[in-house]
Amino acid sequence: MKRMLILIVAVLLACVGGKGRGAGDRLPILSAGVSASSDGQLVLTAEAVRQDSLEGSAASLYLTTSGSDPAALFTGAEQLLAGQLYLSHARTFVIDEAVARQGIAPLIQTLLAQDDVRLTLRLAVARDVTADEIVRAQAVVEEIPGEALGALLDAHAVQGGLPDLPLCRVSDRILSGADFSLPALTLTEDGRVIPAGQADFRLGRMTGFSGGEGLA
């Protein structure tokens, strides 16, 4: 018993030097989008969410960084946060049409290189609007827009209205060279996000939209 107590105390003391991270030390990202700027740079818009008190509600805040390639975007975001971009709770990643037409393989590789990105992350392409606008669009019911966006894509994927292609399947299609489609999203006149058909891809590059015409 004495030895066991000494062991427990020693382990507890060892914990003193361990990581004392708490739930509030990280800023979870709920959704993100990559847009192309006019100067040819890529712009990452990430919706982080925080809640300051138990009585209050969660509030979204948006981080924006730019870079020449996807890896530079994430590095820039981490420098901005002075910590890791915490993508574990991210449900949706929106890609600009222009970026999609250039090819999404580098972006997919960069996402897969992040150790906390879920393979169930849903990808979508912004149609007639920028990815930044989709990510920043306010939700109607949900207080967190990123959650609302994820719920919208989940619901339509289950109902069969939109392609059910999470990150892992997209990666698989790109690696195998197969054609695939991603959900397309757009904004209504009052600023709500709605599905707008699908974006078709061949060899990792977007070839065009199909379906959903006239929805917006």
């Binding site: 914990c15 004392g20 739930a23 509030g24 925080r50 209050g56 709770h89 906390d116």
Partner: protein, 478 residues
């Protein structure tokens, strides 16, 4: 201490008075009958039944019609009491005298007569505080050894019930009784218990725990390998299952062996209430124990290492609660667990009148103030409260729960869920190695170690469980 008596009564009285010189409770009563019978009666004030001495010992001696009677003649023909005998062994005589018996020395005979006149004050049987039941017998063992034995004998009307006394040769001369059912309890088990009791080497035994710590298997394990109860009905049930029960004079706690983990989750109510209700209660106790040891460690592991496993809303709520709290989750939980254990310890030692005040101040006011002052976060208080409350569901495993709770907390803080699982695996491996008097500790709880019983994780109805003994031989079953 040894004394030598002669045929001279005056000398013998001097010997006794020398032995107990300075003891004001030692009484010597010289008796001489008109016919010339001369005796001396020795006893301790407060330890004897005065009526029995006056009516059954001194009165017959005073009216003795014959001079020069031997000790046997006095014991057999004069004394009017149910239990008296000539005891030539002076050590046994002294021991009996110290335990409330009366010693009579007759002039002309060096052999003392020991008369059972025990009459010291005793606590009457009451329901044990630690083993209360909603329905069922409410009698509990007391500190009186013979009364405890009578409680067992009254419930088992069977000549196979055997009581074997062993007087421990320390300064306290405590009597230890090994009880078993002949033909039902394995003789090797009885022998092993008696052997271990004989090997005890202490200067005194004041409680059953002295015996327990000396005879139990794996004394360093936090899990109890010797059963304890303060209820005679439970002790009898264990006797019927083929176990050995050990009663210690001066202690209301009966020990039983072998002890298996399963019985730690059993409560007396399980057998006195409806079977389905008993099944739910037993399942709740098992779940409660697991929650009690795992929840603090799991909370720390999730917050420190596996935040991705928490739903977003929950993570946000916990983050909001932790905002401004200076301590990381591990230290919050550790501190709260220590405070809880301290409060529990203080509550055990505090008089019941002050107990409620202390629990309000300690639990409610202190907890609320600590959360309001942002010294601790509300989720941590909730987690420790859940661990504390669920830990009380299995009182027999409180010691194990305490050790496991802190060990697993450390494992979870060091290695996250991997550390927690590793810690749990070590605990299970330890349980697999435990044995109580040769019986596997996990008997009935894992498939390959099962006894002949329908009383395992859940119990069957009494109608379907006439043979519920787990050690008894097939031919001895009712």
């Amino acid at each position: 201490m040894s004394v030598q008596f002669t045929d001279d009564l005056s000398e013998n009285i001097k010997v006794m008075q020398t032995v107990f010189s300075g003891d004001n409770t030692f009484i010597t009563r010289r008796v001489r009958s008109p016919a010339g019978l001369s005796c001396a009666v020795f006893f301790f004030d407060g330890m004897v039944n005065n009526t029995a001495i006056n009516e059954s010992v001194i009165r017959p001696l005073v009216h003795g019609q014959t001079a020069g009677m031997t000790a046997e003649a006095v014991a057999q023909g004069l004394l009017q009491i149910n239990d008296c005998k000539v005891v030539p062994d002076t050590d046994a005589m002294l021991s009996a005298l110290l335990y409330g018996d009366t010693v009579i020395l007759v002039d002309g005979d060096c052999r003392p007569i020991v008369v059972n006149t025990k009459g010291f004050s005793l606590r009457s049987p009451s329901e044990p505080e630690s083993e209360k039941v909603l329905r069922g017998p409410r009698e509990g063992f007391t500190e009186s050894f013979m009364m405890n034995l009578s409680m067992l004998r009254r419930r088992v009307n069977d000549p196979r019930l055997t009581f074997s006394f062993a007087r421990y040769a320390g300064q306290t001369n405590t009597v230890i009784c090994v009880c078993w059912m002949k033909g039902i309890t394995p003789p090797t088990l009885v022998y092993e218990m008696q052997r271990r009791i004989e090997q005890i080497s202490l200067d005194g035994i004041l409680d059953a725990n002295y015996v327990s710590e000396c005879v139990r298997d794996a004394p360093e394990s936090p899990f109890p390998t010797l059963g304890t109860t303060e209820r005679p009905d439970v002790a009898v049930a264990r006797l019927l299952e083929g176990r050995v029960v050990v009663l210690t004079d001066g202690s209301p706690v009966a020990l039983s062996a072998p002890c298996i983990l399963q019985e730690c989750f059993q409560a007396n109510d399980d057998y006195y209430i409806a079977v389905r209700q008993a099944a739910v209660s037993r399942a709740l106790r098992a779940i409660g124990f697991v929650l009690s040891i795992v929840i603090p460690a799991l909370y720390v592991a999730l917050l420190v290492f596996h935040q991705e496993l928490l739903p977003t809303r929950l993570l946000l709520a916990i983050a909001a609660a932790q905002k401004g709290v200076p301590l990381p989750p591990f230290w919050e939980i550790l501190l709260l667990l220590l405070v809880f254990e301290t409060l529990k310890e203080a509550g055990t030692r505090t008089p019941s009148v002050m107990g409620s005040t202390m629990s309000i101040v300690g639990g409610l006011v202190l907890g609320q103030a600590a959360v309001s002052a942002r010294f601790l976060s509300a989720p941590s208080v909730i987690i420790v409260a859940i661990a504390a409350v669920t830990g009380l569901t299995v009182p027999k495993l409180q010691s194990a729960a305490l050790v496991l709770r802190f060990s697993l907390l450390a494992a979870g803080a060091l290695g996250g869920i991997y550390g927690l699982v590793f810690g749990l695996a070590l605990a299970v491996a330890h349980l697999c190695t435990l044995r109580s008097f040769g019986t596997p500790y996990l008997l009935n709880l894992i498939p390959r170690v099962a006894a002949r019983t329908d009383d395992t994780w859940l119990r069957a109805s009494w109608r379907k469980m006439p043979r519920h003994r787990f050690l008894a031989r097939e031919e001895d079953k009712p």
